[in-house]
């Protein structure tokens, strides 16, 4: 495994063609703007709470862009908004989860190939392995991408999933966004040995730590891992070293546990300016592009904001609608009680 310093530096030499690089930038920008809107929505009381991905745009967009959206499948946690965006998920449906309209979100996860929002830290990781194994059993060529955090790496489920993937040769890529913090707990008190990527060797799979704030580096690492999985060489692990620039959630107060200097220092690593600089350095984009991107991405973020804000609340009967595929008499009875006594 590689430390942040040793990680491949790819922004000067992007593996990405110009058009793709510009697309990634625009997605990152939309994510940043939408994230900002979402924090505002929480302040306005439209969202009861929100978990910001600020700082993790490169890790999320770079990894998602490496996927083949027709055949791969992403298993997110609760902080993968920019992954959803990059995969073309219906974003008002996605943000509905933060408005607490429906915990899993209101998009169609099967059509989007992006599993429902999952709040159990570590919980969805074995799902990704199961999905990948199912793909292999069916003789199809899709791969699963499993997202989880540095904190999640401590959970037993993540270990069981990695071991299972290794034993079964499941075509899955584990993407750990190490944003340095699990709520108030820093890496030093979370990750024995200090590196999630280093765990991969113990499962006989490749593990790499990349600069998670460099969208091209993330893209390249995940693309390689996906190619490996797709060609039958099994799972691998990519640790994207990044930073949670915002509080854990809008209910959190970072002043209780981290140094404001650390947050300020992050500004230098902010993946947005870095991506912009890389595009400029490579001659892929000019001022006009950035101006237009800003306007269009803002419009898109505002459109999503307005759509999710205006979305109707689900009817109370939805309580009963999706518990089972094959309804039970007992639940029908309870629905009648609800109708008579609550509705």
């Amino acid at each position: 495994m590689l430390t942040r310093e040793e990680a491949p530096r790819l922004d000067g030499d992007p593996a990405l063609p110009a058009e793709s690089a510009r697309r990634l930038y625009r997605t990152m920008l939309t994510a940043r703007l939408l994230d900002t809107e979402a924090v505002a929505l929480q302040r306005q009381g439209v969202f009861p709470a929100y978990v910001s991905l600020r700082g993790q745009e490169a890790a999320q967009v770079g990894s998602a862009a490496a996927m083949d959206a027709r055949r791969d499948f992403a298993f997110p946690t609760y902080r993968e908004m920019a992954v959803a965006l990059a995969l073309g998920v219906d974003m008002a449906g996605y943000m509905a989860s933060h408005r607490a309209l429906w915990h899993g979100g209101l998009y169609d996860p099967m059509a989007a190939r992006f599993a429902p929002v999952n709040a159990v830290v570590g919980g969805p990781v074995p799902h990704a392995v199961g999905w990948a194994l199912g793909e292999k059993l069916a003789g199809r060529s899709g791969c699963a991408v499993s997202y989880f955090g540095d904190g999640a790496s401590s959970e037993g489920d993540v270990h069981e999933a990695m071991n299972l993937a290794g034993v079964m040769g499941a075509p899955v890529v584990f993407v750990c966004q190490n944003n340095q913090w699990a709520l108030s707990v820093p890496n030093e008190r979370q990750i024995a040995g200090g590196s999630v990527a280093a765990r991969a060797a113990g499962y006989g799979m490749p593990g790499v730590a990349v600069d998670g704030d460099d969208v091209a580096a993330v893209y390249t690492a995940v693309r390689e891992a996906l190619e490996r999985a797709r060609s039958g060489d099994g799972p691998s692990l990519v640790e994207a070293l990044t930073y949670r620039a915002a509080p854990h959630s809008t209910s959190d107060d970072t002043s209780r546990y981290r140094d404001p200097d650390e947050e300020r220092a992050w500004a230098e690593r902010d993946p947005l300016p870095r991506a912009r600089a890389a595009l400029e350095a490579a001659g892929h984009a000019d001022a006009a592009f950035f101006e237009q991107a800003e306007a269009e991405c803002r419009a898109e973020a505002e459109r999503i904001r307005d759509t999710v804000s205006a979305a109707p609340e689900p009817p109370g009967s939805d309580l009963f609608a999706h518990v089972y595929r094959e309804p039970t008499e007992e639940l029908a009875r309870q629905r009648r009680v609800w109708q008579e006594e609550v509705a």
């Binding site: 499948f73 298993f75 429906w102 915990h103 899993g104 209101l106 169609d108 996860p109 099967m110 059509a111 599993a115 429902p116 929002v117 999952n118 159990v120 919980g123 969805p124 990781v125 074995p126 799902h127 990704a128 392995v129 199961g130 999905w131 990948a132 194994l133 199912g134 793909e135 059993l137 069916a138 699963a144 037993g156 489920d157 069981e160 999933a161 071991n163 299972l164 034993v167 609608a321 999706h322 518990v323 089972y324 595929r325 094959e326 039970t328 008499e329 007992e330 639940l331």
Partner: protein, 341 residues
């Protein structure tokens, strides 16, 4: 019933006539694998070994290593991979080797399997049947004799079944695997070798429809309600009571979620007295639920409070103490007697 019963597990192509619950379950899995190529059977030691109780014996040979396979020793992963497999179109039938080892899988069962259909608003159904050799009575090591039905029955999104004899085990398991909702299937390991009349000619699978109970012995003086191995214990008690002229009706609940509340009310409405019997510890056991349902459904007919005969609120004990823990025929008869006081 069938004198041609044999130890050779039935193949879908050449249906033998299973004589034991173990064989009936084996045959149900065999047929499920044959009828739907999406069905997968996996877990610890279920493949090459055929399961510690041989319930999956011969399935790997007949359906291939891709359809029937051993996993690493990791219950959360076994339950968790089922979610992903189901989302990819498969119909997983995982086994957790013993009741007590369902706890490491509890988070995946409760927070994931049971909820994914709901969370996805029906987009990602979970046709998962989690088989768990369950309950006590075989003098096994610690954690090999637990009764978790109350825990599973409490979880929205799950359905829970527990067969009591070979023919019904066959029907209930096929019914469960075909169900598009997740079912936790609790197999009474003390009855694996039960030789009740064979499933062949025992009525169609539909007779085990989700949420139905069945009267396994009619009677008119009081109703005994049980599931799993305790149905047999109740039949013994009914036999003993019959000698004194007391006719006990025995209801095999078999679907522990949803529970056949109407069936219970009907039976107890007739008999006016009820005793519910289970192996799990008394407090917060499913007996409380059954007692409440009966009382709610037949209060005006009840001649006495519903009695509960259950395991004591103690840790499931080792061998010699097991018979002191499990409900006995005597305890059941004492409870019946109390309903007449």
């Amino acid at each position: 019933m069938s004198p041609t019963a044999t130890d050779t597990p039935g193949a879908a192509s050449a249906p033998a006539v299973p004589a034991t619950m173990r064989e009936a379950l084996n045959r149900a899995l065999d047929e499920a694998l044959a009828e739907d190529p999406a069905t997968l059977v996996f877990g610890e030691d279920v493949g090459r070994l055929g399961g510690v109780f041989r319930v999956t014996e011969g399935l790997q040979r007949r359906h291939g290593e891709h359809r029937v396979f051993d996993t690493p020793l990791a219950e959360a992963a076994i339950a968790g991979m089922s979610v992903g497999l189901a989302m990819n179109g498969w119909r997983p039938v995982p086994e957790l080797q013993f009741d007590g080892f369902a706890y490491p899988a509890m988070d995946q069962i409760v927070n994931q399997i049971a909820r994914m259909n709901y969370r996805s608003r029906g987009a990602a159904p979970m046709p998962v049947t989690v088989r768990i050799p369950s309950f006590g009575g075989i003098q096994a090591p610690e954690h090999h004799g637990e009764s978790l039905e109350a825990v599973f029955a409490h979880v929205p999104g799950l359905k829970v079944a527990a067969p009591s004899d070979a023919p019904d085990a066959y029907r209930l398991l096929l019914q469960s695997v075909r169900c598009d909702d997740p079912v936790v299937f609790l197999e009474p390991k003390a009855r694996y070798w039960d030789r009740s009349p064979s499933p062949a000619g025992a009525g169609p699978v539909e007779d085990a429809a989700v949420g139905t109970s069945r009267v396994v012995r009619p009677g008119r003086h009081a109703t005994l309600v049980a599931w799993g191995a305790m149905v047999h214990r109740c039949l013994q008690a009914a036999e003993a009571a019959a000698e004194d002229g007391v006719e006990l009706e025995v209801v095999d609940l078999r679907w522990l979620k949803p529970i056949d509340a109407a069936g219970l009310a009907e039976s107890v409405g007739r008999t006016r007295r009820a005793v519910v019997v289970h192996e799990a510890p008394l407090t917060a056991g499913l007996g409380g639920e059954v007692s409440a349902l009966i009382t709610e459904g037949a209060f005006s007919r009840l001649a006495a409070p519903v009695q509960r005969v259950a395991g004591f609120d103690v840790v499931y004990p080792a061998g010699p103490l097991e018979p002191q823990y499990l409900p006995t025929v005597d305890r059941i008869l004492f409870a019946v007697q109390r309903t007449f006081e």
